[in-house]
């Protein structure tokens, strides 16, 4: 019971922390230069992980679906199934979980270490608002970069699917793409991609919260990085349920 209470307490504190970040994001001075640095750090440095994971997942997905669809003579639907699965769910969710693992843990550990070594206090003594400088820039970077990484994941997955299909059935790239995008409408593509901005907000807020608010030395670093990954992953999956319901409400065609 205590652990459940602590979980809700943490979620409440993280929510207030996130709302403060939203408020401060629209107040000058704007840390544009440092924000761009974070975009580079979070986005560019995650690209290889996202591409490799998406490509491998694309291959695995095709191998699994092929064995089933072949039994019904429906292997021509593999590209379509691949693109719909990646655009709707696999791309956004897996990209978010990967970023939560790589970036979330990194931010949590970095801030906790900065707190332990008085670097955050040092920023304050230089008359710089450490919350705006460190927290707001990272949350904003996560919000901006996650939809882009999701797109990259989607196309890496489709590329992986093509590679698998090409080896197994010598399907051409052109035909694969025609079939993959035949039934993809904007409603299949845009809302699921944009929902990852919410995932980015969750990752940024949760990991910044655990890192920024700890003050427990090296044990705090370990705890902050672990808690960042665990809570942000859990909140991503829970919020995905809500967001998918919202998408179905606003785009009913998708629910069919």
């Amino acid at each position: 019971m205590t652990r459940i209470w602590q979980l809700f307490e943490s979620i409440g504190k993280v929510t207030l922390f996130g709302l403060k970040a939203v408020r401060d994001a629209f107040r000058p001075p704007f840390e544009f230069e440092y924000f761009l640095k974070q975009v580079r750090e979070i986005g560019w440095n995650s690209l290889s992980l996202i591409f490799a994971s998406g490509f491998a997942l694309g291959i695995v997905m095709t191998l699994h679906t092929r064995s089933t669809l072949v039994q019904f003579g429906a292997e021509a639907e593999i590209p379509n199934l691949q693109s719909m699965s990646f655009f709707n769910e696999i791309g956004p969710l897996v990209a978010a979980l990967l970023v939560a693992g790589r970036v979330g843990a990194g931010i949590g550990a970095e801030f906790a270490n900065m707190r332990a070594t008085e670097q955050i206090d040092a920023i304050e003594t230089l008359s710089i608002n450490s919350f705006k400088f460190l927290v707001v820039t990272r949350i904003a970077a996560c919000v901006l970069i996650l939809p882009m990484l999701t797109l990259f994941m989607d196309f890496a997955g489709i590329a992986g699917g093509f590679a698998s299909e090409h080896v197994l059935s010598n399907l051409s790239w052109r035909l694969y793409l025609d079939r993959a995008f035949a039934n993809v409408a904007l409603a299949n593509f845009v809302p699921p991609t944009l929902k990852t901005a919410v995932f980015g907000f969750i990752i940024g807020t949760v990991s910044c919260y655990f890192g920024y608010t700890t003050n427990e030395g090296s044990d705090g670093v370990r705890r902050a990085s672990t808690n960042s990954v665990v809570l942000s992953s859990m909140l991503i999956i829970v919020s995905d349920v809500v967001l998918v319901k919202c998408i179905f409400f606003f785009f009913p065609d998708q629910a069919i």
Partner: protein, 251 residues
């Protein structure tokens, strides 16, 4: 109308300041003043509230009771912007130097200049950073990351960063801790230079009595949360308190 704070004789004033963390009370009704342009050394055993005193001066901690006045302004009552304005007058050298790990040495110094002095061009900032690093003998290490520096170099770099905005008040937390005698003597020389050449008010928390006696005009001795001695070295040598006499004459 601008308030000319230079007319105030005592730049830092502690009035009956208390600070507690749970059951631990590192400061209890502590009062003292630091005159403008002078150096105060705060001495005492470990855990007696010396670093807490410095953090109260720069507003990193808030007093539970009493007032901390900087240039006549009670920093406990200031909002974020007001506190930021007061902090611009101050430089802080942390015990661990607290350099930003992900920034090169040059960028550590350039950050406050970029952020707080919008009138300066990038070239001007580069020149100021070069000069500041040159003063502490680290110009050739400008592109190194903090992790590549020794403890003494980090302290000197931390001092250069604290001074890069030419503060009126410099606060230094254990500037010579963990350093050999020669390096700590170099740090003391730099602090004395800052005091005499720039007329900066200096407050140093230290265990190094030899260094403290070189730098300090006044000394404050804390014991278990109480200010047990305050004055010049010769005054404290005549104190009735044995602990005060022991501390001040340890050299």
């Amino acid at each position: 109308m601008m308030n000319d704070t230079r007319n105030i004789t005592n730049e830092i004033v502690f009035e009956q300041v208390s600070k507690a963390f749970g059951h631990n009370t590192p400061l209890r009704d502590v009062s003292f003043t630091v005159p403008r342009g002078e150096a105060l050394c705060i001495l005492g055993r470990s855990g007696t509230g010396k670093s807490v005193t410095l953090k109260l001066m720069i507003g990193l901690l808030k007093a539970d009771r009493g007032k901390v006045l900087i240039d006549g302004q009670d920093i406990g009552t200031l909002d974020e912007d007001g506190l930021s304005r007061v902090r611009r007058k101050m430089g802080f050298l942390f015990q661990s130097a607290a350099l930003f790990d992900s920034f090169s040495l040059g960028d550590n110094l350039a950050l406050p200049l970029h952020r707080l002095d919008k009138t300066k061009s990038k070239d001007e900032i580069k020149t100021i950073v070069d000069q500041a690093l040159d003063e502490v003998g680290l110009k050739k290490d400008k592109d190194k990351l903090p992790v590549e520096l020794s403890g003494g170099m980090r302290k000197r770099a931390g001092l250069a960063r604290a001074l890069v905005l030419k503060p009126e008040i410099l606060l230094a937390d254990e500037p010579s801790s963990g350093l050999d005698r020669i390096t700590s003597s170099e740090i003391d020389e730099l602090l004395m230079k800052v005091k005499t050449e720039r007329h900066t008010t200096v407050v140093v928390v230290t265990h190094d009595i030899r260094g403290a006696r070189r730098i300090g005009d006044h000394f404050a001795i804390l014991d278990q949360g109480d200010l047990v001695g305050y004055g010049t070295a010769s005054e404290l040598e005549k104190s009735e308190n044995k602990l005060v006499r022991e501390f001040i004459s340890e050299a």
